[in-house]
Chain length 473, copies 2
């Protein structure tokens, strides 16, 4: 519930369609995809159409000490865009215009509420590419993707969202709008404030617009699927692939259990992609500079695989011979999340140094076996970045609540193992509400103190997305 | 002069060779390459060999409220590494070890005092590349290059130093050492403090070590030199080159005057690289994915040039036919700085949005003609990034001091013109002491206030490189 005078002021600024105070939409706009043990309790939803309206909202809330939750496409997985204590949700959904594409500079300027997919499509219309790519791109907003520094399946080749942000427009809690760097490629004038907003999950300001870098798309790609016996072999194959001149754009691993769940989930019959499945599968994508490189690159890859078979490193491999088979191979990786969904998996998105992947997974699987007998552990992820998605599946005979309680208890073991190998408790999903208590596993007490000091400088009254990232002091 | 008890404590920690209190080396270590109207006045030079020694130095200075100037290869061009008021200079020169190269992760770990060139060489030994490249690389330290977010000739293709820093070790003013991210590719756990230290010019902490990303080197390159009539033509050719599938790795412009100074400066006879010189020359480098691409790429480039000649866009062009001629073409660009040196040029390193290059230069040249009659204005730079190096040359008949006084006065006009097109008063050299008064031309009052608040959080007593970046409050 908003105070009546604030509601009136917002209605006057945004029109009646720009303020939602009740009904199904109130709840719809008030949370992301992470459902946790917290309430969903928004005061109202504001839907501004312009930067000036966002500034007015910030000023009105700031004067009344009303907290704000910035909201994008609500595809986040940590509760960072969820209103939990009568905050005003500020959705950027109506600020969804592409403002300009400059092919010479390879830049695109857009409002924060544009989807990642819309940016990709606008780039493609100029034969350019926005290479940040992930399953939720059709819903995820550019603003949210910047606020969470989104990753995805091409990080190995193109990095995280951070590397593609050239300029940023951000409304501060008192309503001032910073317009940082704009179209400047180079701007070495003091501290790079852009970088603070990137990945800050709406706790320092409301991202309202961005200028993003674009690149030339890959001329062609070559896709392969490989079966291996264990994580050591997965890492050794990665090392061999990186030693040569091939350009890896994806190196995605999934274990036998993931494969089996995809088979179970499919309504159509699946052709087994490999004659011999391994305990691990790796989906490999290579970028080609031109179509002319396809045959020599395929030959080089097949030769590398043959040597790896001789060395006992891999068990089987297949290289896609056309686009349709390439898509089929990708589908074995891409369908995993959806296929696990009926098993209400308990997930953890973590990262470890690449050299520590095998030892970490050995310890983690052992710990699951000891602490959670009868619960199946499945792992997939962007293993070329050291980024693992750990999944625990609820057995049919176990009560859902009991399962979740055991999993939550086990989280502290999982994240302690991550900490012990110098890993990150959140590789690409962020902290939000979900992982606040584990922030100290990856960031030192001093780092957290510096982060809190920065938060205090930007938002002295703690009105921007309170309770996210940090545990209450 | 150090207080005797601090000098004794430092000598005890560092040994007599680790502390310089007098003699020529005192001055040698106390400034960078920028000589301005400020004193060079260090208290002493500390030369630690370990992170622990840097921590001890910070603790000793912090307790006594003694200021510190972190110092790398001293190749900076803004006075950022100059001691001006009895500070202790902490040189990282002895911390010059490469610690590890990991070819699979494509990472190199090193101490801060390693030169950029040494990192390049260590990478090359593993058939990898550290692609940040600039003339001072043989002297510039990795620590200093990170603290200034160094750019160089390949930014168009590889970005600034920021994009290549994976992990960072930083000693804070109270002696605590932050070890941020290490080997983690992905780590979305709150604010990215690394990014604050990058480009902070030693005002937030002392960078003592880094983990840097590496990449595959280009298989081959193709180099060309083109003559054009004016800046509009330079930008139109850039647009045409970027529209195609070619991979530009350099697009460097220099005007006729720069060319003539290089001819004057050379002791050997120079063969004119083009039959027709233009008022502008552009050095173009393209990256090739393989040697096999050389002939088709050359054909495509020649075809593009022929069309540009027909359209009246370019006046002449030559494509290097082997490595030796490629190096000769590059030398016309690389020799400019040294060739201008005898003319004691007054320089400005600025950036503007690429679309504003022509209009900015037109206004700037007109302003020079009006305000500085008889003074020659030469421009070269990384024009593909919108990064221009503006040079004013002292005429033989003018007294050096009078020249500098006039130039300094004209700076305010230059930087106002930069501001008016949304440009940056420092593209890649930073702010240091030289440009403090113009910081507000590129950063808003609020941005500067936020930067000062961050500085206060990291360094509450203002002991880290005081007076740099910000004007005294």
């Amino acid at each position: 519930m908003l105070e009546p005078d604030l509601a009136a002021a917002l209605r006057s600024e945004l029109g009646t369609e720009g303020l939602i105070e009740s009904g199904a939409d109130l709840r719809y706009y008030a949370s992301d995809r992470c459902k946790g043990d917290w309430p969903v309790a928004p005061a109202a939803i504001a839907l501004p159409s312009t930067i000036e309206q966002v500034q007015t909202i910030a000023r009105l809330c700031s004067a009344r000490r009303v907290a704000i939750v910035p909201s994008g496409g609500r595809t986040g997985l940590t509760g960072a865009a969820t209103a939990i204590a009568n905050e005003l949700v500020v959705s950027l959904a109506r600020m969804n215009r592409i403002l300009a594409v400059d092919p010479a500079s390879r830049l695109i300027r857009c409002e924060a509420g544009v989807t990642v997919q819309a940016v990709q499509e606008a780039a493609a219309a100029h034969s350019l590419s926005y290479p940040i790519d992930y399953a939720a791109k059709g819903s995820a907003h550019i603003g949210g993707s910047i606020a969470t520094n989104a990753g995805g399946v091409k990080v190995l080749r193109y990095g995280l969202t951070r590397e593609w942000v050239q300029g940023l427009d951000v409304v501060l809690i008192d309503g001032e709008c910073l317009r940082i760097s704009g179209e400047l490629v180079k701007n070495n004038t003091g501290y790079d404030l852009r970088q603070l907003f990137i990945g800050s999950e709406g706790t320092l300001g409301i991202i309202v617009g961005a200028t993003l870098k674009l690149c030339r798309p890959a001329a062609a790609t070559l896709v392969a699927l490989v079966a291996l016996a264990n994580d050591d072999a997965v890492l050794e194959l990665f090392t061999r692939l990186r030693a040569g001149p091939l350009t890896l754009s994806a190196y995605e691993c999934f274990d036998r259990g993931c494969y089996e769940r995809v088979v179970d989930h499919r309504t159509r019959a699946s052709t087994k992609p490999l004659s011999e499945l391994g305990d691990r599968q790796v989906l490999i994508e290579l970028e080609l500079a031109s179509e002319a490189e396809r045959e020599p690159t395929r030959d080089a890859l097949v030769e590398l695989f043959e040597l790896a078979v001789q060395d006992g490193l891999i068990e089987d491999a297949t290289v896609a011979h056309n686009d349709a088979t390439a898509r089929e191979l990708w589908a074995w990786r891409e369908d995993i999340s959806e296929s696990l969904h009926p098993h209400t998996p308990h997930k953890a998105d973590i990262a470890v140094p690449i050299g520590k992947v095998a030892v970490f997974l050995q310890r983690w699987r052992k710990a699951v076996g000891e602490a959670l007998p009868g619960i199946e552990a499945l792992v997939f992820g962007h293993i070329g970045d050291g980024n693992l998605h750990l999944n625990l599946l609820c057995p049919p005979e176990l009560d859902g609540r009991e399962f979740l309680a055991r999993c939550h208890q086990f989280d502290s073991t999982s994240y302690a193992l991550v900490r012990d190998v110098g890993g990150s408790v959140s590789a690409e999903h962020g902290i939000g509400l979900l992982k606040r208590e584990y922030l100290g596993h990856t960031r030192s007490a001093r780092e957290i103190a510096l982060m809190r000091a920065i938060k205090q400088s930007f938002d002295p009254h703690g009105l921007l997305n309170p309770g996210k990232v940090f545990l209450p002091a």
